[in-house]
Symmetry: C4
Subunit: 191 residues, 4 copies
Amino acid sequence: MGKGRVEAFTDGVVAIIITIMVLELKVPHGEDFSALVPLWSIFFCYVLSFINVGIYWNNLHNMFHAVQRVDGRVLWANLNLLFWLSLMPVTTAFMGENHFAPVPVAVYGTDLALCAIAYTILAAALHRLHGNDTAFAKALGTDRKGKLSLTVYIAAVVLTFVSQWIGVALYVLVAMIWLVPDTRFARVIEK
Amino acid sequence: MGKGRVEAFTDGVVAIIITIMVLELKVPHGEDFSALVPLWSIFFCYVLSFINVGIYWNNLHNMFHAVQRVDGRVLWANLNLLFWLSLMPVTTAFMGENHFAPVPVAVYGTDLALCAIAYTILAAALHRLHGNDTAFAKALGTDRKGKLSLTVYIAAVVLTFVSQWIGVALYVLVAMIWLVPDTRFARVIEK
Amino acid sequence: MGKGRVEAFTDGVVAIIITIMVLELKVPHGEDFSALVPLWSIFFCYVLSFINVGIYWNNLHNMFHAVQRVDGRVLWANLNLLFWLSLMPVTTAFMGENHFAPVPVAVYGTDLALCAIAYTILAAALHRLHGNDTAFAKALGTDRKGKLSLTVYIAAVVLTFVSQWIGVALYVLVAMIWLVPDTRFARVIEK
Amino acid sequence: MGKGRVEAFTDGVVAIIITIMVLELKVPHGEDFSALVPLWSIFFCYVLSFINVGIYWNNLHNMFHAVQRVDGRVLWANLNLLFWLSLMPVTTAFMGENHFAPVPVAVYGTDLALCAIAYTILAAALHRLHGNDTAFAKALGTDRKGKLSLTVYIAAVVLTFVSQWIGVALYVLVAMIWLVPDTRFARVIEK
């Protein structure tokens, strides 16, 4: 089964998710700068989620580039990832509207962790289909960054109940690892 | 008439339907776990509809793969299917927000049944265009699974007025028949 | 300038318009059949607009099929059409939520008329680019159906202030002319 | 890395942005013409933003046409532009719902300026990748129109606090420079 339509469908869904998130940014009431101040947490969450979904698009782009074919298992593993990504707009608004209260921060992190797990399952399904000695397996490698991200997300969810700011800081940290791949920090991790 | 743009348009509409459903998942009020509890029915319905739309995407993907060409009749049969699918976000929210009251459950099932009928009409329009001895006709076969699904949907709508949980259980059952095609249960049905 | 991306962009916007219209179908309050009754006008308008946008997709599909190239003028004529089509979800909900009050019915018809004018402008821009003796000019012909539609829309808007049901009936009539191209009625018109 | 999927993703996101803006056009309350009057500012802002996003689509279309390849830096520069464009629906509604109060007008202009800066960064990232003597560099040229637009946006934001109508007039002016490229005015500027 060719990969073309799966790629196109995935790109379509990710493009919609990244764009409809803005519909959760409600139009501020009031017409002076003070109307904008309470929005800072919602805006911050929007930026963070835009970057996170952007990172997934980037990674899916690269992963499917190395793919030769797909099967039913891959289609459903991909839909599973899209499902958890599709919750991003809601979990983002939940965290932003509650000004980083612990439970919403933990829910957001749980969604990120479930996306990371779904991504790992998708990679495994593609690995299984292509075999060990293929370009796909080489491109995927040991996926240290992916495993590290998942570990940090789980730690972040737990530590949120110590202080929610640890959770938020760790989410930002993971985004930066992916976003700034050329800094020394990321290079150390990738070794 | 080439099938390329019909495929792309269909994929686009299905990608939008599956993604905007999340906009019906309203951001919970409150900031602790108890705020999430009343959402269980909405979340359950969202998962069920995500899977159902995913199944349609999958089936449309496979069906159009075997298609050589389309005509005006096929275009409108396809738009008819997209119409009933486009009601999914509303019927899903109607069922979820009313915690599986009988009428919303019956409305949801009626939409599923109308999608199944529309799918059958689309398959018939494509069959008519391609003829009996083509790859398309062979790939379609007798479409037992489709006919069974439609029968179960109609039964579910009726039985909802005995108990709505029978309706919901039957919707889940049909989704599982399509989702888990390799289990023994599905294999028996396909014989 | 190639037509590929304009086609893809147009299909994308039309797919989004036809799908987000459903977001104006608010989830009914209440959980029995009486909750659905007041929705009949909204639902009827949704069906009518779904068909109208579907007709535009169909016509744009066929028109761009005969096109060889596009220029800046065509791009903006196309965006102009997409603009008036993009108002469909709002004018549809305006008509449906007010149960066919005369002003909303006239506003809806005005939008339809503006879409029809924009379509004519787009066809003229493409005609101008391709010349008189091309496949495009032949495929376009005198566009009687388009001109008839526009005339009927304008008549409908005016007659709405006699009775809104005349307006609504005329909108349905135009949709049927396009939707059922093989009936004798449509054949007579096309002569 | 091929440019195909970046183009498709960008077109997808821009198509969604330009279309979901209409969801901020709330259905008017009331059923006569007086219900429409208070909407004039919202409608005017919608038209302005539709044109602005249309201009970006046009420019991105032309820019990517001259591009041979993309890298990680370009992907993120592109996502940065899409981020600021994605705020358009919200800043548009903020300006329209507050009937051109100075702060919303300044916020809208700030978003336009940030889009223009992001566009410049994207062009620079593509320039850097392709080098000085390529078709891309020639097509980009000195980008006088882009630089002029950015300057006018910044001036508009500042002058909004003298009178918001100066700001709005300048936004309209910039849109017209791009929209009507064949008028003498625009030709003078491009010299």
